[in-house]
Symmetry: C2
Subunit: 199 residues, 2 copies
């Protein structure tokens, strides 16, 4: 399969590339790294990406930022960061990519444990993750030509514990390699509309 | 209790007012009707509302629009309708209203069945409803002074079946009066972070 991987340089992205690259052709995409450049916040770059790549069999996104910070400092502007990037970036990736995705091809997006299990400072991330999971359930019944869509919901990643550990006390971290298996399940399996939790 | 009700003129809003008004003081708020005017899409009107009303014991929102329409005509602009109105409108209502909400006071927001059970044409609504439910779970652990927040997730309303019935085949409608009970449970109960499904 020919698989576009947005966020290929990230912690999860690298693990997904490692998991899938022995069996498939990976096209790594990043904001400033990878074979092609695209920015989730910039819709024309997503359209340009698919014009260049033309047909692919799977589109995987492991990119997307959100604001973390104290509740009493939360503003519409800070909420907008994750809305424009992780949330609408991934939604617009689907809208922009569906014409380039082959019959039976799959989208695999990324949410996170905060959709169900909130932490302090994480309200914007919870909102974004919950939105993405419901969007994926809805998109799954709307996509045509047998196209599929699933989303991976990881807990905190082992490799990210030095940075995020203090915010995720009591959350058992998982290695990025384990999270990558869920992307394989989505891309190489046949389900659609699923939220794959890796907790 | 002194209860602000945003969307008081709507189908659910009227039923909530009917349920709560015999025991509490209802302050009806609408875009163009009610004792005070505010527009969920216009943050300054939300701040102005709470400056005028000062302290309240509960803030209930039964308002909020989203775009319904064919998947293959879905655009970022159409998604933005529900993001700005039903989603960010209710989130901004919480951010704007928390200082005017008494100790132990409650927010009660409104999502809908499409967060879990999608229908054709409903992808934007699913996204918004899922975002709101995850936001409420997160806000519940962040609010101070014993303030609470819950969300009511109704299925299609009996009174709205002439308009929405064709989109909700197989969904058992519920009377608005039954949905109103969930708002009573939130306002007059003690739970927080809950999604009250009325299906």
């Amino acid at each position: 399969m020919k698989i576009v991987l947005i966020g290929a340089a990230g912690t999860i992205g690298k693990a997904v590339a490692r998991e899938l690259s022995s069996r498939h052709q990976i096209i790594p995409v990043g904001r400033s790294s990878g074979d092609f450049h695209a920015d989730l916040r910039d819709i024309p770059t997503l359209h340009a990406l698919f014009e260049k790549i033309s047909q692919v069999d799977a589109i995987v996104c492991t990119a997307g930022s959100v604001h973390f910070g104290p509740w009493n400092e939360l503003t519409p502007e800070k909420l907008d960061i994750g809305l424009r990037d992780k949330l609408l970036g991934q939604v617009n990736l689907v809208l922009a990519g569906q014409r380039s995705l082959s019959d039976g091809g799959s989208f695999t997006l990324t949410s996170g444990i905060l959709s169900e299990n909130p932490i302090r400072y994480g309200a914007a991330a919870s909102l974004v993750n919950g939105a993405l999971e419901s969007f994926v359930r809805a998109a799954a019944i709307e996509l045509s030509r047998g196209q599929r869509i699933n989303i991976v919901n990881p807990t905190v990643i082992q490799e990210s514990m030095p940075a995020f550990g203090p915010y995720f006390r009591g959350y058992r971290p998982v290695p990025a390699a384990d999270v990558a298996l869920a992307y394989s399940k989505s891309v190489e399996g046949s389900q659609t509309g699923q939220v794959y939790k890796v907790w």
